[in-house]
Amino acid sequence: MCVVEVKGARKLMAACATPVSDGMEVLTESDRVINARREILRLLIANHDLRCLTCERNGDCRLQDYCYRYKVEDTPYKGEVIEYPIDTNNPFFIRDYSKCIRCGKCVTVCAEINGAYVYDFMHRGFETKVTSAYDDTLQETTCTFCGMCVNVCPVAALVEKSTLWAGRPWEIKKVTTTCPYCGVGCQLKLKVKDNRIIGVAADRSGPNLGDLCSKGQFGWDYVHSPDRLTDPLVKRNGKFIKVSWDEALNYVAARFKDILNEWGGRAFAGLSSAKCTNEENYLFQKFMRSILQTNNIDHCARL
């Protein structure tokens, strides 16, 4: 798809690989280029599972985008379409190689960014396939489940399980935010549908330049865990009882006041959190210092 016409060159050139030289005249949308792209698209869709109706990437698919842009409605090449079984064996994403266009982006990201070298081109000719050795499930490989291959896949060959049937791409809101795990501060996009997170997409704006690890990519579902605390709890006779916010806060405030009156600020200690926001940490130390009158504030900075 990256072919362009260089004036004077015998054939079309790959824009991504041809160094620019002085005086080079490059045509990016000449008739010749457009026809070549159309033909390439026709070839691609001739060997592609075209069940776009229910495809997870329908509407967010580079193959569709280009077919639309270059008005490729159908392919005249009716022939062999290779069908591969879908691999659903890992907890995070499916591998549906009937939709693979063999661009090799997953090979590159896995080898050059992650360094896991899970994928490579296998076989050759028409049977060329981009996959793991022996089509192993990813648990059997050196895969670290960073999910970057899923994020770079331009089509629906690699799809997060959590997004399956969870919403059409245009219904999904993407919210850029900061990963809640380690200190690298990766930027990522939460995919949200009906007030639920259904997946994560790459975001190139942060220090991670779009790269992620397994925690950032797949470690978000605790947000919807049924174990989440839903109501304030107060322990009575050794058992937690759900109470209203008013009741809980009144009780805490009363106890704080009592202890402050009786023992002074030195009887308090507060642990704030390296997982909370700056704003919350600021308010917490302000609360401890200005209201509870203590500098006994720490967090697990050293852990």
């Binding site: 490579d120 296998m122 076989h123 793991s132 050795a133 490989t141 050196t142």
Partner: protein, 156 residues
């Protein structure tokens, strides 16, 4: 079990581009490249199994499944083609009961097609192990195969 692989690894692991000759030599010893062998080579060379498998599946020369005792190569070069190599190949398939690229279940014969054996003067030509048979007709195939079947039976 995998005799000689360690020695070969020792010889090749530090040579840039040593993977292809290593695979060639290992296959020479073991006849084909089993998964265990590829895994051993991957860890010995310090590269991923995917890369080793990618290379092994790219080249015609490498075989990932066991091979027959007699390797029949039917030349499908242009010269052989215009002189009826396809008919010879079909006759072979019929006689052996396998498709080209496969091995008989008793591991006696493997039927391959090759791009060119370089003996175009003898077209159509086939080789069975190191023996060359030229100017072959489909009619000669059953007899030829029978000869090797008998030979195999005697040895076993």
């Amino acid at each position: 079990m995998h005799t000689g692989i360690d020695e070969l690894l020792e010889k090749y692991w530090h040579i840039p581009g040593g993977l292809v000759p290593l695979l060639q030599e290992v296959q020479k010893v073991h006849g084909y490249l089993s998964r265990e062998i590829l895994e051993k080579i991957a860890s010995g060379m310090g590269i991923s199994l995917a890369k080793v498998a990618g290379v092994a599946t790219f080249y015609h020369q490498f075989h990932l499944t066991p091979r027959g005792r007699y390797i029949i190569k039917v030349c499908m070069g242009t010269a052989c083609h215009v002189r009826g190599a396809a008919e010879v190949l079909f006759a072979m398939e019929d006689e052996l009961g396998i498709k080209v690229g496969h091995t008989t279940p008793d591991l006696t014969f493997t039927l391959d097609q090759v791009a060119c054996l370089g003996a175009c003067g003898l077209a159509p030509v086939i080789t069975i192990n190191d023996e060359t048979y030229g100017k072959l007709t489909p009619g000669q195939v059953p007899k030829l195969i029978e000869k090797y079947r008998e030979e195999a039976a005697v040895v076993h």
